[in-house]
């Protein structure tokens, strides 16, 4: 044996994922395809949000979904009813989508449709407020959902997720009259964690806020296409 050698590499642990995410982004850009990474805890309303959103959005923009799920294709089956291309990505034991999985999903999507024909790709991540925040997938924007039943303190308890998000959707606001919930405290916690994030209150029951959310998406698509 020789003397120990110290190799100072200063290498990001996630560099392989970041590298693949960059490759995904280049692909999205070449297809002129805006990609949103939709994240939240389980049950915050991601799939229902997409169902309602895509009913209108797909009339104006050509849309597709990559549907991340740990064990089932149940959410993908719901979205397939909207007659848009949907690719399920079953992660198995993994609690988040990573850039490789999304690359695989994109290859399957390419078999269903020429992505040049698409305007927007919505990627529904696995329900989890921790790991998805650290793993880039090549998205242009991150959207985090937070339902009011989860509590006002969640932006402080899961700060990376809410810090990284470009848009935070406060969901299930139709339940406000029935809960002892301080939405101003939640908004204050969001702002202190991420002062730059856009925030929209939304309800999949009353459809309140969907006009703002659809407007947000439309503006992002048009700006992206014009660049």
């Amino acid at each position: 044996m020789h003397l120990p050698i110290s190799d100072k590499i200063e290498l990001n642990i996630l560099h392989q994922n970041s590298h693949q995410a960059e490759k995904n982004k280049v692909k999205f850009n070449n297809y002129n395809l805006l990609c949103l990474n939709i994240m939240s805890s389980p049950g915050a309303g991601k799939t229902r949000l997409l169902e309602i959103t895509l009913e209108d959005l797909s009339k104006k923009f050509h849309s597709a979904v990559l549907e991340g799920d740990m064990t089932t294709n149940l959410d993908a089956a719901r979205l397939e009813k909207l007659n848009i291309p949907v690719v399920p990505i079953t992660t198995g034991r993994a609690c988040h989508l990573d850039a490789n999985m999304v690359s695989g999903g994109l290859k399957l999507l390419e078999k269903k449709i020429n992505p040049d024909l698409l305007d927007i790709l919505l990627v529904e991540n696995v329900g989890n407020l921790v790991c998805p925040a650290e793993f880039e997938i090549g998205e242009h924007f991150k959207v985090a959902l937070l339902s009011i039943t989860e509590g006002e303190d969640k932006p402080l308890k899961y700060p990376i997720m809410f810090r990284e998000a470009d848009l935070i959707l406060i969901t299930k606001v139709d339940l406000l009259p029935h809960l002892n919930f301080d939405i101003n405290e939640l908004k204050s916690n969001i702002t202190s964690t991420n002062p730059k994030a856009d925030v929209i209150e939304i309800s999949s029951v009353t459809k309140s806020g969907f006009d703002l959310w659809q407007d947000w998406i439309s503006k992002k698509i048009l700006k992206f296409k014009n660049n």
Partner: protein, 113 residues
């Protein structure tokens, strides 16, 4: 995260000729404002590498403090969730993060066989 660490080590070792080296220490720098709990990373790494070429390696973790910069007075401060991550000097929201997001392999100590 453990998988990413092992993949990074595999990639590094390929350049070194894996069969001719023994990794003694993997020295990490992990920021406080990340989704990584250091002890969990060590435990899962130790379990994952059992019986592999990394079996005898040890992980050391240097924790990098979570530090922000007050956007009003430019003072550096340590954001606390109890205070909503606001600056104690001016009570401003956390805008600029100076450190705490690191997820790095700083260095690898190894011996050649």
């Amino acid at each position: 995260m453990t998988k990413c660490l092992i993949l990074s080590m595999e990639e590094w070792a390929e350049k070194k000729n894996k069969k001719k080296i023994v990794v003694e220490k993997i020295n990490l720098k992990i920021g406080e404002f990340t989704c990584v709990e250091p002890i969990s990373l060590i435990n899962t790494f130790n379990a994952a590498v059992l019986g592999s070429w990394l079996d005898s390696s040890e992980i050391t973790i240097e924790t990098i403090p979570f530090e922000g910069k007050c956007s009003k007075c430019n003072r550096l401060y340590f954001p606390k969730k109890e205070n909503g991550y606001k600056s104690p000097c001016c009570n401003f929201n956390l805008e600029e993060i100076i450190s705490g997001r690191e997820l790095k392999i700083a260095s690898i100590d190894f011996k050649e066989k």
